[in-house]
Amino acid sequence: QQQVKQSPQSLIVQKGGISIINCAYENTAFDYFPWYQQFPGKGPALLIAIRPDVSEKKEGRFTISFNKSAKQFSLHIMDSQPGDSATYFCAASLTGANNLFFGTGTRLTVIP
């Protein structure tokens, strides 16, 4: 059973455009929602994370939007660049748990 559902599976965006990746979860006890970026042959690297007490968090070109009532959260990449081309994973965890539950990933390609 997939704890975190992610879409789309792949995404192609023009340079300068906005990339949007969506995730949904079922467990209302989740209280930490990170996004990871993974380049081929590398491990995932933390990009940005949010807790459910805020609806939005912005770091540079990356923004997480969080909708607690809908149990959804999304990653927005503004002014997308070719260097952003990677696979992005959303994840969720809860205080007291020992692991993260990852989505299935979105392969982003930014075309120059």
Partner: protein, 116 residues
């Protein structure tokens, strides 16, 4: 070291053989995690160490999988009687304290295991 180091980066083995995958966490990180990432999927939790002890091994798929961390630093994931379905990227991560909804992991680059 500066990051989480995993060796080997690639391992090809024959079905039925035994393999060991090594993880060297960031110095001082007491928490260590193993995840498995199948092609086109997100990482899935296998086991978590706090210090030398396996605090949570609920993600290990069966008794062919075992992991140790005898001195609280380097960890080895051991797979017996490998099967083709074990082919995946095995990721190790470490953190300063248990990453329970707060602290972030630092992942290594993984070991790509292929069972032929």
């Amino acid at each position: 070291g500066a990051g989480v180091s995993q060796t080997p980066s690639n391992k090809v083995t024959e079905k039925g053989k035994y393999v060991e995958l090594r993880c060297d966490p960031i110095s001082g990180h007491t928490a260590l995690y193993w995840y498995r990432q199948s092609l086109g999927q997100g990482p899935e939790f296998l086991i978590y160490f706090q210090g030398t002890g396996a605090a949570d091994d609920s993600g290990l798929p069966n008794d062919r999988f075992f992991a140790v961390r005898p001195e609280g630093s380097v960890s080895t994931l051991k797979i017996q009687r490998t099967e083709r379905g074990d082919s995946a990227m095995y990721l190790c991560a470490s953190s300063l304290a248990p990453a329970t909804g707060g602290n972030s992991y630092t992942f290594g680059s993984g070991t790509r295991l292929t069972v032929v």
